[in-house]
Every structure is written in C-alpha cells, then in structure tokens.
Symmetry: C2
Subunit: 334 residues, 2 copies
C-alpha cells in the first residue's frame, strides 16, 4: 500500500485514484450474462427454481426463503430457520453479488454458485430433500421438462439435479447491485460526502482492505476471526470452527471467508453467528479483533458511513408464475 | 334455472347465452382500482406489506408464504405451516380474485380483505404477532412511515395496524386473473372445445351452479359440506365445525363458504381440509356429497376439463425491495 500515506491527506481525487487500485465497480447483470454466456432459458429456469418451494421436502421453503431478493438477498435473522423450524448453524449470506466471491459459504466449502446450490436443498436443517426426490418432482411437471430441455439443449434427460444447480447459478449470477454511490465515486462523480470520504480513507489506511477489497469488498480470502483478539463466545461460538471443518487443518480453526461488504447496510445481523445487529458495533469489533486497534467513535461512524455507500441498485425481479403440480408430483412431507 | 333444459342440448352459442346469466368475467386490475378508488401509494404500500416478513414474530413469514403469487395465490400444501412449524386448522384459500368473495376465510368470519388481513398476523399458529409489535416495527423504518403518510393522507400518526390492513386490501384487490379461456368464451370467442362445453353444460345442469356461480364461480354463500352425504372424516374432520364457530348456530355445523373455483386447477389440494389432491376426485366427491349424484367417469372428466378453463392470466408482481431495518426495529423472536 504505497498509496496509504498519500491517501490519508489526499483530496477526493487522490483518494479515488488509490481506491481504484483496490476496489472495482459492480458490473451490470447484462455484462455478467454476456461474459458468462448464459442463455435466456437458463436464466428463466433458474428464476423459477429460485422461487420453487417444491425443491424442499415440505414444499414451503425455497432459495428465496433465506436469500430473499426483497431484503438484500438474505433473511435478516441471526441464523436461518429451515425444515421443521430447525435452526441452521450460521447466518445466511447474501446471494446478491455472490457471483464475485472466490468461493461460497462462510467456510468456502463450495467452489461456485452451482456447487453451493446443491447444499441447502439437501441439508437436513434447511430444505431436507434429496436429489432423487427433486428430479422426480421436476420431471412430474411438463413445463419444467420443456424448459430444462430448452435451457440445456437436446439432452435426452435434461431434468437432472446437476442442471438444476446450473440454472440456479445462471439466475443468481444476475442478482448483482451495480451503481452504488461508491461505484459512482469510482467512476469520477462527487457522490461521497466528507464523512464518507473520511471513512473510505480510514478503511484503506487502518488496514480493512487487507481482507476487504476487490469488486465485492471482501469474499476473496480466508482469515481467522480474531486474528489479533478473539471476540466473545456469543459472537464467535466455540463449537463452530469454520474452515477447519473443510480442510481439517489446525491453522484453519475459526477461519472464515472475509465477508463481502456490498449492501452490508441491508443485511444485519452480522458475522457468521448473526449476533451483532448494529453495523457500527460490527465495525468496532472488526477493529479490535482483526486490526488490534480500538477505533474511536468518530472513526467507527465514518467507516460505517462509507459502508452505507456500498448499497447498490437492488435487482427488480418479477415473481415467476410456477408450473402447476401434476397428479404425479410427489406430495409434501413434514 | 329455466335455461337448464335448453342448455343441455344447446349449441355453444346457446350455452354461452345461458352461461352469461349465471357467471361473469373477471375484471382487470385496472378496472378494480378505478372502481375502488385505490391510490398508487396505497397499492405500493400493500405490496411491500404483502411480502414483509417482519409482520411476523419470527421475521420469516409473510402473507406471500401461504398465499404465494407464484403458485395460484395459495401454498399448495394440505394445511398451512406457521410460526414454530405449527400446522393451521385449514387449507390456505387463494388470494387471487378473493376481492370478489362475499366474505373471507372458509367460514366467512371476515367481512372483507381488510378484516381478513388482520387475522393471520395475530394467529398464534400463523404469524404470531400483535398489532402493537407490528406498529412498532413499521414505525421504526422511515421509508414505511413516509409511504404510510403518502398512502393515507396527512394523518399525524399514519402507521397503524388498521392502515396496514387497508393497504393490504388495496394490493390484494389487484391480484385478479382476467382473460381465462372461459371468460374469452363468455365474450363470444370459440375458446372451449367439445369436452369443455360438455363440462360447462353438466356444471350448469347437474346443479353445481347452485353454489358456484358469479364472477368467482363460488365464494358467495355458505353451504353444509355433505348436504346430501357426508364425506369421510379424512376429508371432513369431525372437530372442524366450520361456520358454527362463527355463528354458534346448530344449523351451521360443518357449513363452509362454497369454494371459489377460479384457477382451481392451480390450487390443489382441495377442500378446507386439503386432503384431496386430484381435481377429478374433488369433482366426484362434490357430486355425491352435495348433489347426491354419482357422476360417471366421463361426466367427471368433462366437468374437470371445464374447470381448467377457469385458469386466468396470473398477476405479474415485481418483488418489492423492502425498507431496511433500523437499529430501533424490534428483533425477531422464535
């Protein structure tokens, strides 16, 4: 960070120059679609599936239940509630801009959105279903069979659990939030006020950017929660060892993926335990636990003000009219 | 029904003439809005509230959970699942075209959609919330306070439980499904095939129209389930006495509001108990229990074919981006 000293005293223009080396704007859905080569049929199918409660054993839980497009792509409760009102182990991460993360889940155990999509469908505390049951369900509805065929070519048996995940990845990749005030700032516009510029400056110079950079202002690497000082057990429950459960490596105990901070003002409560509701408190905790620095109240307020500028344009999604069940569709089970 | 004998042998045109005296087409949302005088702000507020999980104690259940705009305005499970995975007593009725019903709920205990909207929010087995908690929640979010003010004029305290219900009524009144093939037929188009015309003819002449007529093909009056022959306990559970619990009148035991049949092909399972998944089976049960007539297989198929023509254009609803919680918003409780 050769630019750090400079940025500290920099004018907005100088700060912008530094910021552009650290962050990048969120592309539009159209740009993502073009880059990834998704077809309209794949996206439409993914949109149906994202809102499809029949992917769950009970027929009442869909992807949107815990990753609601109406509330920042998450569910805004500490830990998600799934089948039978069971509580999941961690706070639901936002689906918005998730395509920009290096890996999915708090512990990065899924390489991409396609792999991620298969998890909650099968998790006993979430949708509690099986790939076989999902395929039987989707094959029972002619409209699904037709759209799977269109989405994935002339395959003789297009309705597969794997193709379900491919379609979900296509749709979820369109759930991006471009044109945040911060992105307008990066593009040269005077959209940040003095307090927000101060916050950006602090965010850079206090070292937050060590873990939170790039398009998603995070979501790229794994870091111990409490690299300097471990937070209390209510925020860092001792029985959730994070990435250790993926790698089985001692140094990965209590290691988590750095949270992506886009739209962070919309997705309280915070951290994998979902125990912190106040964004200012979350910033203060990060200061002490990750930076070993007790941020003063003004610094916390300024950084929080900057984080609010990361709220982008929310996706406008038309609720899909889903295919009706046929007499062969498996019945819900509770 | 002086037209019955005529209709039995009638050509499609003659049948149309009879049908127009019994049924009426579903108006468009624009026509409803004009008639009722709802403002854009009232409808927009209602749309937010319809998808608002923070109306529930847990912050995960919204109106749309049990009345999903993606699945015919209902949840398509036997009986709804609410707070704490509790099971409600009855099958969730569709919200689509509910504005045309004479009263709401299976027992008609709410006079209109506004009164209905207050029920599930407070029901312990549904959203399990209180009017006070709802008002505190909505008042904690400036965007809600602003929109309530715009929707309901210059009232000094516009955020009330009653205004919540008024807004929900406004939005729900727009959830109509015009232009079904049957409505096109009523308007003079040759949209019904021979089998469907036969079904319509049977529907009229077997007496189904005694309970199922008007815009909503039902939803107007109260009738004993089993007027001729009571169905078995799995379909008519003995502990649910229907309208008796509203009127406390012995003659109202096992009396329910005649189901509105618009979009009936989309809203299995059927009856207040939600125990019948096959529309043909439901038709056969109605024949024996209400008409005292064992419909033969061809008759059942024809009537079912006619019922499929009642599926209208489904509302296309943009999922609203909801106001974010403030630090004063009450926390979810489980």
């Amino acid at each position: 960070m050769s630019g750090s000293a400079l940025a500290q005293d920099a004018s907005a223009d100088q700060l912008r120059g530094v910021a552009k080396t650290i962050f990048a704007p969120v592309p539009t859905a159209a740009e993502i679609i073009k880059e990834k080569g998704y077809t309209p049929e794949q996206i439409q199918l993914g949109q149906w599936l994202f809102f499809e409660p029949r992917l769950s054993r009970s027929h009442i839980i869909s992807c949107n239940t815990c990753h609601s497009v109406g509330t920042g792509g998450a569910d805004n409760i500490p830990i998600s509630i799934g089948h039978g009102w069971q509580h999941g182990p961690r706070n639901s991460p936002t689906v918005f801009n998730a395509v920009f993360n290096a890996a999915q889940f708090w512990d990065g155990r899924a390489a991409d959105l396609k792999e991620q999509a298969k998890g909650p469908v099968q998790a006993s505390v979430e949708m509690n279903n099986t790939p076989d049951a999902v395929e039987t369900t989707l094959r029972s509805m002619p409209e699904y069979v037709e759209l799977f065929g269109k989405a994935f070519g002339v395959e003789s048996d297009p309705v597969t659990f794997d193709n379900m995940a491919r379609a979900l990845e296509a749709f979820e990749s369109t759930l991006v939030t471009p044109n945040a005030r911060f992105d307008q700032f990066l593009a040269g516009q005077p959209t940040l006020d003095e307090q927000e510029l101060k916050g950006l400056n602090l965010f850079i110079n206090k070292g937050c950017i060590a873990c939170h950079s790039g398009v998603n202002v995070g979501g790229q690497g794994y870091f111990p929660f409490g690299v300097i000082k471990k937070p209390g057990a209510e925020i860092l429950p001792p029985n959730d060892k994070g990435r250790f459960t993926v790698t089985n490596t001692a140094s990965d105990e209590y290691v988590f993926r750095a949270g992506p901070l886009r739209n962070i003002a919309l997705t309280a409560p915070y951290f994998h335990s979902g125990e912190v509701w106040d964004l200012e408190q979350a910033v203060a905790i990060m200061g002490s636990s990750q930076l070993g620095h007790e941020l003063d109240a003004d610094e916390v307020k300024a950084i929080t003000a900057f984080l609010h500028t990361l709220t982008g344009e929310q996706p406008q999604v038309v609720y899909p009219t889903l295919p009706r069940s046929s007499i062969d569709t498996p019945k819900p089970q509770q």
